[in-house]
Symmetry: C2
């Protein structure tokens, strides 16, 4: 299995993807990784991290890509004008069956656009979308869509539910993932027109639909998959990140006010670190694109090496568990 | 000034509203409070808290209301069938100019419906809405709408912006409140059709519109008013509450794992308490209904006495600062 990593995407430079790739190769002998970016630069960075005799070198490749799509560039322009960008080269490798998946911490809209352009949509999919794992009090929950589709119809949300349910089922070994619909109240009558009409479609489906879930239920962990449009999903994700950051800053400011609390903090530091690890997106390995003919994973722009390493594992899991076959089958079953 | 409090709404019984009312009266000599609910019960509860000779008694009244609207009842049914509910009686007092404002921690949809039924909408308002204060790293931000209007048109969001900006300006003494539009990216091109069309209206208005804000900006405190539809606002509010709860539970679980961390916690406890107070909704005094001919404040279902006391102060501020006159003037200016 060969996973391609965009070494130039992300806000923190190319060293982290290179480190993440090498860490993944060291941990799993069955994987190969292709780094996407300027050949000379990447060869040099690899040499700075591992010696020429290191055994993982035989499973680490570089595919030259001269261009990079900036974080603020329009996805449509990027796909049209930058044919030699890391993400376009990556999905071309998948198209030619020279790689099994692409991972990028760069411009997520452009990554989705490049995937659709190079690979196309899976049979029966109207709108591919982005799923993401949120930490909860129990197991992580998969939320879809988190930003690819801002104006949705009920049929699109139903397809998100079918795709995310298949993916969660295969990735996490769940028999019938519990699917919830994000709304403003538990009753079927609560929510906007889109949500109410989607509720009807989901109720009539064979999915294990448990009804509406409210914002306050997201982090409880009593549902495996949560469905929403990309606007609501994106705002939910980013408001959570923003709140976590702000809360940590406020708590730190309060702790720094007294010596007593500062000493307490020294004793409690490890518990804080374990807590942070538990809620850290880096542990969850990025957000899979669902609905494209191939495998793509979008990572946070500030992903560290651990996040990228975990994204390699999630990509490999998606390929080995044949998630796309599952999605195609589930959509065909629904349409039949 | 006389503020009516629904003593029967909320999940925690009638004692908290009674305590909140008495606390408010003790702190501000210029206020009177009317408790709404069963006369005998409330008279008894008042006597349990303060003696017959207590001076605040002369400013504390009870208005008999035999019925209570349940948290899960349909607002339309509640308004139609329970004419003697606490909230209907409360807004009737406002209609008859026997009270200046109503506060309820009960069914928020029914409270809004009762307010519209009894008082009607302010001149020029298409859709009244609910504003709420969110804590941030700096000053609280006012977000509107947080759940009254699930399917909105751009014109509705523009009106929310005009109303919330007027309210924030008068309540917080801001000359030109910074108004942001909640979306999935800063550029005007980001967001769904509703957001993009609202962006155009806000840009053309005389409001101090600073453009789109993302979920991660909500808690930074660099904007005074954030506008969104009621679905997005409600989910944003509840996901924040859910995350805060879950994070505290996870952190506690990690702390309880070692003796070292437990001792650290004892030293750090006060810092935690100050942090909690800073983010506690109870400090912010509830969510004002904006756009009705009168003043109404919705409180969280689990409001404690402090939250209800603060809601009395916010209601009094809204009345004394003539927020509704400001809103009517701002809407008339816009239409002229």
């Amino acid at each position: 299995m060969r996973i391609a990593i965009d070494a130039m995407g992300g806000d923190l430079g190319s060293k982290l993807p290179v480190r993440g790739a090498i860490a993944a190769l060291k941990e799993r002998q069955d994987l190969e990784v292709v780094l996407l970016g300027p050949e000379d630069l990447l060869a040099q960075q690899v040499s700075e991290i591992i010696g020429t005799g290191d055994r993982v070198r035989s499973r680490l490749f570089v595919e030259h890509a001269a261009e990079v799509v900036g974080m603020a560039e329009s996805p449509v322009d990027a796909v049209r004008k930058k044919k030699n960008s890391t993400i376009m080269v990556g999905f071309e490798l998948v198209r030619e069956k020279k790689a099994d998946a692409v991972i990028s911490a760069g411009n997520s809209g452009a990554t989705m656009a490049a995937a659709i352009r190079k690979l196309g949509r899976l049979q029966g999919v109207s709108r591919p979308g982005i799923a993401s794992f949120f930490p909860t009090l129990k197991k992580p929950v998969m939320i879809m869509d988190i930003g690819a589709n801002v104006d949705c119809r009920p049929q699109h949300l139903l397809q998100f539910a079918i795709m995310a349910s298949s993916c969660a089922s295969l990735l996490h070994g769940l028999d019938q993932p519990r699917v919830g619909l994000l709304s403003i109240g538990e009753e079927a009558s609560k929510g906007n027109t889109l949500v109410k009409e989607t509720h009807e479609l989901l109720s009539a489906s064979t999915l294990n639909f448990i009804g509406n879930v409210e914002g306050r239920d997201v982090y409880k962990g009593d549902v495996d998959v949560i469905i929403c449009d990309g606007c609501v999903g994106n705002i939910s994700l980013k408001i959570s990140e923003g709140l976590a950051d702000a809360a940590m800053q406020m708590l730190k400011a309060e702790i720094l006010q007294t010596w007593r609390a500062k000493i307490g903090y020294l004793l409690i530091k490890n518990a804080f670190a374990r807590f942070r690890q538990r809620v850290d997106y880096a542990e969850y390995g990025g957000a899979p694109l669902l609905g494209i003919k191939g495998t793509g994973i979008i990572c946070h722009g500030t992903s560290n090496a651990v996040a990228l390493q975990n994204a390699v594992f999630v990509a490999a899991d998606m390929v080995s568990h044949k998630v796309n076959d599952g999605i195609t089958r589930a959509l065909a079953d629904y349409n039949a």
